[in-house]
Symmetry: C2
Subunit: 604 residues, 2 copies
């Protein structure tokens, strides 16, 4: 539980950059310094510190901790200070104390170069126990090893860990920098939009909030989409909001029922404009300690992305791209290959796993020949052509997939699985300190409905504008229309998405009614707004929780949220959600429909 | 609907101060300038503007508007530009257009000194109608005269008005300055806390959110109170959040079901520390155009405030203080006075309304005598003593209240009513450009329950710490305990409130269980947290909507919220709340209990 030195320095570095604008952690309080602040330059000063007892040894010294660091405190041993000694020796670990004393150099040889305050110690004059800590249910230093349920139940203890302090503080600073960029440099207006709204069409994942009008419900929206478009119609020109959003997906790992997005919308902008804005935003707010990022970010079409990586959010930190080897195998005798190739969109594709021998046994032999059941069907020339096409090296493994596929999602998953296995075997493929941003563009505007493939649904949402080159296709063959949607991908994670929106009421109505066959009545206010001089506009939303978790290399978004819910949507500390009385439901004109089993249990 | 010049200049002034940090409204888009930017220095430049047609006259010129201002556009009359002329002449008002052209000086004598861009005009070269506006249901310039319901239904049109643009932009800038002060200058951490939590004891005004677990509900909290305290226990040291809060009060004028507060909490701080923090915060973020504010703010005890103003949120911009005149009347023969004075806390109090003759007829006569039914009961000496005590002038009116009262709330209300009447009669008492901040302190910790006066309830909330001088009274006579609660009052409006919190688990449990007789089980997580080394801490919350509405002198908080709800809690634009289908309720295990009348109407 000692602060890892490297992290501490990083954090300190970040803070230093703030000091130039007179950051003062000691304003409005009686402490003179934080526990991370004292250096040899302070020697001789009388100081007042407040903090938690991290460690105490035999009444001789203790280590005091606050959010900023650790300071070694020397307990006086002389008679005149016997009261102070007694107080501090008996105080349990994690008690809160105030101490005053004098900063001294540590005796020669006792400096701790791993501690920012390692050159000094504070000789106590007076001390006060502000709050004594009862016995902890576990040692804090072991906390990280405990179950996550226990950590969430005692979240206020977990928050004292260096890692969570670091994550939350870095998050706050990154968001502040984003605000400076948007608000102070580029004239964006921070507008708060309502979270009590009404159900949007297809908003099956929206929480409901009963109102006092019988049968009427608000709904907690998944994003401020409608409002930000209406703000553009209202002439706000440039809007942003760090917006709380809600999504009721039941139990999903690493999703939260409430989450935060950096929500942005601009008038008179095109796709490139939004992309440059976001690149500038990320560059401006990027924490120094995480290196720098290069702009503009590379861009890839949706089709390329699926073809090369089998996913629309490729992790481009490593290769293993998908290669179409249909042509090499077209004249082979392999039954399942021929079968696959006989379909209209039949292909054979492959990925080559460098050093794949580490994880599977079908390999390229040291003598250059292939070890595979397939070799007997391939001539030597075909084999060597294949080796060349896939750039196979000794000990590489090739995985093949044959079939009528457009998306190669199987190979895409295998690619990631293989990376997992290779890393488990000790190879480094995906350096967490390297950040590969990527724009994925030219998505289809509509996709076939999964349940009923003859019907179309929006690939993203019904407000997305068609690609300018494909507008006429909208009326003739909507399945072929590309959209002006763009996703921002970071190391294989979707961290943002947006689009240029439809600003013509006629086009919006056509999409809703003719293509999507939706009842446009629920969106009548938006359609009407488009008729009253709506400017061309577009925007984007960044998933803040995910973005921050990638920046700090946290295993879960729960590590960058102060009070996250469990994967079942529960607050394990406060025990939410909870039962309420029928009387409390009365004003809302609702009652609980108990599932049969529970009903019987309640009324046996 | 022309921009009022004074407001425009103010707004411009505010913006100018941003320009020094390179504020760029034209980044990422193809416009060269906004419609408020061009000056004589730009003459000769080729410009591209985007905006709304504010006004168009006989195909000769038009006025283009965006968020920044107005620019006069000269429509070309020559044959080569006949297409442009046709386009612009036929475009309906409020259509969105792009124009390119050359900045020219207006012909001598045609400058408009009331317009920031009044020296120039733009001679159009090319133009494009980006979106045509259909006939408006009303003229926008008359909008302000329309019913508020209509304005809210077409909120996106109302947002185009100068006043709403100004309000929302100023709000954004003030909040940004607050963030700079808290985050960059004083080391506060912006932490987002959950809004899906559980019902707090006595949280009758909390919206409920059904969960997928039968019978269990989240609740939308009225403030992040518990979370911010837990963040202090977690060692965050300095927290702030621009927090969305929820309160279901049914229909209340000028209240919103969701509202925003600047939420702050600090460790190791006392009342004076929080007060200095807030004074600094407001001074730092105060818009230049609203003058400056002086700190520290004056302070008044709760008792003084009630005695002098009959309210705990006095408007100190004007006098008319309440004066206790019991002693002057003690020897009079007036029946109801004697009756009132016979009670243990009986008093007679008065306010003197300067120039009250303007509004009522019982006055002080020009000859110095009183015109009142009471004069016959008072001797001359008593009369002149009374005149002196109340500092009565000719034409003043005195209102008396006799009874067993501690709070004088009747006279407090009469004082405000009188001010309303005097202002309606043309006198200025409460200058809206003058800002009187005031701390009200030393509130009682507990008040008698209104329904059952033998029981006590928290004057604010159960986490408020007792006044240090009164701690021992907590255990002997809790009714006498003053609290460490403080309210911030601005011109008679409560704009903030906070307190030093209880950080001892034992004291917190005593308050909950012994004084308030509450079931402390629902707060067990908080009580437990206090046992694990909770630091002394305190905080405050500022009501942002109210504060901004006072700064911009808006009649209602609805004028500083982009999409407010009606006083019945409805969104009149999007029609929320709305009916949902029984299928949509199913996953939440609830059903509607239709009131009998509606049930019958539905199933006749």
């Amino acid at each position: 539980y000692l602060y890892p030195n490297v992290l501490h320095q990083l954090y300190w570095g970040y803070r230093e950059s703030f000091l130039c604008i007179h950051l003062n952690f000691n304003s409005f309080v009686t402490r003179t310094n934080t526990c991370g602040e004292l250096r040899s330059a302070h020697v001789g000063q009388e100081v007042t510190l407040y903090g938690w007892i991290q460690y105490q040894r035999q009444g001789l010294f203790l280590v005091l901790r606050d959010f900023q660091g650790l300071t070694q405190i020397i307990i006086p041993q002389d008679e005149a200070h016997s009261h102070v000694k007694k107080l501090l020796s008996n105080a349990p670990v994690e008690s809160v104390v105030r101490v005053t004393g004098t900063v001294s150099l540590r005796p020669p040889g006792q400096e701790n170069p791993k501690m920012p305050t390692g050159d000094i110690e504070v000789k106590v004059e007076t001390a006060e126990i502000l709050n004594s800590c009862k016995k902890l249910p576990f040692e804090i230093k072991d906390f990280i090893k405990k179950t996550e349920a226990l950590r969430m139940q005692y979240r206020y203890l977990d928050l004292r860990s260096f890692q969570l302090q670091y994550n939350l503080r870095l998050r706050s600073q990154i968001v502040m920098r984003m605000r400076e960029y948007l608000c102070n440099l580029h004239g964006f207006v921070d507008v708060e939009t309502p979270t009590l709204f009404k159900r949007t069409p297809g908003g099956a994942k929206e929480f409901l909030v009963p109102s006092r009008e019988a049968g009427k419900f608000y709904s907690l929206p998944q994003s401020p989409q409608q409002f930000k478009q209406l703000l553009m119609v209202g002439g706000l020109d440039r809007y942003f909001q760090v917006a709380r959003c809600y999504r009721d997906e039941g139990s999903r790992p690493d999703r939260q029922p409430e989450f935060t997005q950096i929500d942005i919308e601009m008038s008179f902008v095109d796709q490139a404009g939004i992309q440059r804005l976001i690149e500038g935003l990320l560059q401006y707010s990027w924490p120094e300690e995480r290196g720098s990022i290069t702009t503009p970010f590379p861009s890839m079409t949706y089709e390329e992305s699926l073809a090369d990586y089998g996913t629309d959010k490729p992790d481009t930190r490593f290769g293993m791209k998908i290669v179409d080897i249909s042509d090499f195998l077209r004249r082979s005798d392999i039954r399942f290959v021929q079968n696959a190739l006989s379909y209209p969109r039949g292909t054979v594709k492959a990925i080559c796993i460098p050093q794949g021998m580490e994880i599977v046994e079908i390999t390229c032999r040291p003598d250059g020949s292939l070890k595979s059941l397939l070799t007997k069907f391939l001539g030597e020339k075909q084999q060597s052509e294949l080796i060349q096409a896939l750039n196979m090296q000794v000990d590489d493994v090739v995985l093949l997939a044959a079939g009528e596929h457009k998306q190669c999602s199987a190979l895409g998953s295998l690619r990631l699985e293989s990376a997992d296995l290779l890393e488990a075997a000790g190879l480094v493929l995906r350096d967490p300190t390297v950040f590969h941003f990527l724009w994925v563009v030219d998505f289809p505007l509509f996709l076939p409905n999964e349940e009923n493939p003859t019907e179309l649904e929006s690939a993203h949402h019904p407000f997305t504008a068609p690609h300018p080159s494909d507008t006429s296709l909208l009326y003739s063959d909507p399945t072929k229309v590309r959209s002006q949607h763009y996703d921002l991908v970071l190391n294989g994670n979707e961290v943002g998405g947006g689009s240029i929106r439809i600003h013509s009421a006629e086009q919006q109505r056509f999409v809703l009614e003719k293509v999507l066959k939706e009842d446009s009545e629920v969106l009548s206010h938006l359609l009407e707004a488009l008729e009253f001089g709506a400017p061309p506009h577009g925007g984007i939303a960044l998933g803040l929780d995910r973005l921050i978790s990638l920046i700090v290399d946290a295993p879960s978004i729960r590590d960058v949220i102060a009070f996250p819910k469990s994967f079942k949507g529960r607050d394990l500390m406060g025990n939410a959600p909870d039962y309420v009385t029928p009387e409390e439901l009365e004003p809302y004109h609702i009652q609980v429909s108990w599932p049969l089993a529970e009903k019987e249990a309640k009324n046996p």
